[in-house]
Amino acid sequence: MGQVIKIALPGYDAFTDTDPDHFSLYVDNDDSNDYILIKEKTNATIEVSGTENVAHNLSYIPFCLVFAETTSGVWRKLYSHPINSSGFWFEINSTNLVLRNDSGTARDFSYYIFYDNVT
């Protein structure tokens, strides 16, 4: 039998339940999956007009989440180049998280950079 560390969510039995969705931490050496928890490196909010490079210093391409304050108090989750011409988007390379605002009006962007390598 392999080594096991499991923390069940309230209402579930850590000894009998086998659904990883019912655990806040699920590690079992007999299971072929690692069930990794993504690990945050940093987060910040900055004003973006045009292009802003945020150096992450990881030398690989990390998982990132980015949001833009499209109107006061309203934050939209961003993806790659927008299909609806909003002008807000981002890309990631091995040096920078690149924040793009092509809308012509400066906006606040909030970003999270994680340690987790996506390549």
Binding site: D34, K39, F67
Partner: protein
């Protein structure tokens, strides 16, 4: 006082590693917690772009929201900033006429925005997750 750390290494990795990618869990790094998960069914108006649907979240702060949409009766799920099929052709009877433009949030509610280029109303099921404060 020595800093106490809880670490769980991935299979085959050394728990003394300094690379965060070698760990399933490491107490020195924040992990995102799902603070709410729910579903919402909406009906898109026929042949109408820029349709917004609001859902109250009652959290009192602006949450980080990620969401996925599923056309009723279909198996494929699509994320915001995408159509409901691959761009190079319809698959398995899906026509690609629904576009999930974006999901946004403020301190009281979540907004899901769609286009429907289909000539008839379309039912869409959304599953969304609230993670942390933006």
């Amino acid at each position: 006082m020595t800093q106490q750390v809880v670490k769980v290494a991935k299979k085959g990795e050394d728990a003394h590693s300094t690379d965060p990618n070698d760990f399933v869990f490491h107490s020195e790094y924040n992990t995102f917690k799902i603070i709410k998960e729910d579903t919402k069914q909406i009906t898109l108006l026929a042949s109408t772009a820029d349709q917004s649907f609001s859902e109250s979240h009652l959290k009192g702060f602006v949450p980080l929201v990620t969401a996925f949409a599923q056309r009723n009766g279909q198996s494929q799920v699509f994320a915001p900033n995408s159509f409901d099929v691959e761009a190079w052709g319809a698959k398995l009877g899906m026509s690609g006429d629904i576009k999930f433009n974006y999901v946004s949030s403020n301190s009281s509610s979540i907004v899901f925005n769609f286009d429907n280029n289909n000539g008839s109303p379309s039912v869409v099921n959304i599953r969304y997750f609230l993670l942390e404060k933006i």
